[in-house]
Subunit: 324 residues, 2 copies
């Protein structure tokens, strides 16, 4: 288990350890091939941000790990299912620095393994007998799929607006993080104002998280990110720094040419990244992320004064400054 240990998660370290065990248990089953493939992905780790947000959400009311556990595991399974299906469609060579499920086991296993994980998350959720939890996650999963399809439909399209971008990253990332925060509170029986504040907190954090993710795709060292640099540009996914540069770079015609080229080389991608950076694309995107983080912190003010608040503030700061 190479789970990335992040300092600010110390507050819920024990609980995250329990989630990790349950996660491994959820993907263990008789067939050795499937078990190996699923365990492979779980063992590769990840930040477990969704379970963490779910647990943190529960801390604002009568925290009860037993009540949160199936939900926390389900949220990570949904996230992993989308990662696996992303790997299928994108033919990515690596994720988190190790070969993707697809590269090792083929498209067929990956598709069904993603379906299996999604189904398993539903089994865990159905234990709650709480229609709200089912309804929120059902709605979230539909909108996440919509986001994925819109991303495909708009790839290589340089006429995208900021609005298009925010629509996409909300569906891609913010919705599930927002649901994680809110449902953690729901599972612990927290009243409506707490749920709503956490819902908004999660939305803003999720937006900031995806924006920094999109910046890192252009700036991080391959080793740190665990995937090739400029992957989004290669796939025609136009993110915030690129949208900014397409409007503000003096070399925007050349940039447009590179971005719309479906057979761009690594050197082309590197040139595009340089053009985007030179006109301040990354700086702009960081500023937008910081605005979302400020909004997230504002939401914390409305929440009860519990010890975990400090940890959530640190988490918010981490999202703005992380380099992995």
């Amino acid at each position: 288990m190479i789970t990335v240990v992040i300092g600010f998660l110390n507050e819920i370290k024990y609980e995250l350890g329990v989630v990790e065990k349950e996660l491994l248990a959820a993907v263990k089953f008789p067939d050795p091939l499937m078990s190996e493939a699923a365990t492979h992905l779980v063992s590769a780790g990840g930040k477990r941000l969704r379970p963490a947000f779910c647990l943190l959400g529960g801390k604002f009311y009568q925290f009860d790990l037993d009540k949160l556990l199936p939900l926390a595991v389900a949220l990570e399974l949904i996230h992993m299912a989308t990662l696996i299906h992303d790997d299928v469609v994108d033919s990515s060579a690596t994720r988190r620095g190790i070969p993707t499920i697809k590269a090792r086991w083929g498209n067929r296993i990956s598709t069904h393994l993603g379906d299996y994980m999604f189904g398993k998350s539903l089994v865990l959720i159905s234990q709650y007998q709480n229609p709200l939890i089912t309804a929120v996650l059902a709605d979230t999963s539909v909108r996440m799929s919509e986001g994925e399809i819109v991303q495909i439909a708009t790839s290589f399209n340089t006429n995208q607006t900021l609005r298009d971008y925010f629509y996409r990253i909300n569906r891609k990332t913010a919705l599930l993080i927002s649901a994680s925060c809110k449902l953690g509170a729901v599972a612990c029986g927290a009243p409506e104002p707490i749920r709503q504040a956490l819902h908004r907190f999660g939305h803003y954090i999720g937006m900031a998280f995806q924006i920094t993710d999109d910046i890192l795709d252009m700036t991080a060292k391959q080793l740190k990110l665990g995937k090739p640099i400029g992957g989004d540009l290669h796939q025609g996914i136009i993110t915030l720094p690129a949208i900014y540069a397409l409007h503000h770079s003096p070399a925007r015609e050349r940039l447009k040419q590179i971005i719309t080229n479906r057979n761009k080389s690594d050197a082309d991608v590197q040139e595009a990244i340089t053009l985007i950076a030179r006109c301040g694309g990354m700086d702009y995107a960081y500023k937008v992320a910081e605005k979302y983080i400020a909004k997230a912190k504002d939401e914390l003010n409305d929440l009860p004064e519990v010890q975990i608040k400090k940890a959530l503030r640190t988490m918010a700061d981490f999202v703005g400054t992380r380099n992995f």
Copy 2:
């Protein structure tokens, strides 16, 4: 809409028409690319057997179309999602005689469209606020995925037993049909004995349905089936007629050789089908299907005497004799 109209479904013709409209509505949304792809699959039709079984299940108690509609649509969406994901993984060229979603829109759209449909089914199901319905469908979807993976893991493996085969087709087909029958009764508030009898009826019918499907894969004309003949053998999927022949054909060594060959030609497949037919593989499989149909009819005896019983008996007979 080229929905296959089957005589025995006349009893619920009106209700199926309403399901069809709701199904089209469920896959309509702003993005034109996605809407077109989804509508394409819905419009291509299909037997709508799962909604039909769901409606028929409701006929044994206080039938209420409004109560059944979201469930009936959800069941077909789950079925369609698995079809789309099957097309992704199998790289099938056609389904139901028209190009697959994959062939027309590519792997990426297909994967997310399947996810979207599955999510949408969950949205419909969550309306019921009935934990049993969610739990049954969650469990069913997990086991269906398990079945798909086991099918991949055991492909080209000629050591499979009858038990392996029945395990697979239960997950592939019988579970969802069984759930359709049972949940139709659940949605209408039918008491436990009715639910259980319908659950078993659906199981037996589902098993028979898949066995005849597997026979037709070897015997039907391409035009009738809407997909290439011998597709299972091409993909290394070893079905009941083949398992029988691998034990009883005097030419079983040659048969084994063809089946395990991953690059078999159309002529090889034709030879295998001839060998399987010659030793009585199809006849044996038909007999097994008939046994399941007899069991299904037995279950009907325990159910209340309602008008629809006659239609269900006819449906059972249809499954045993259908040639499409």
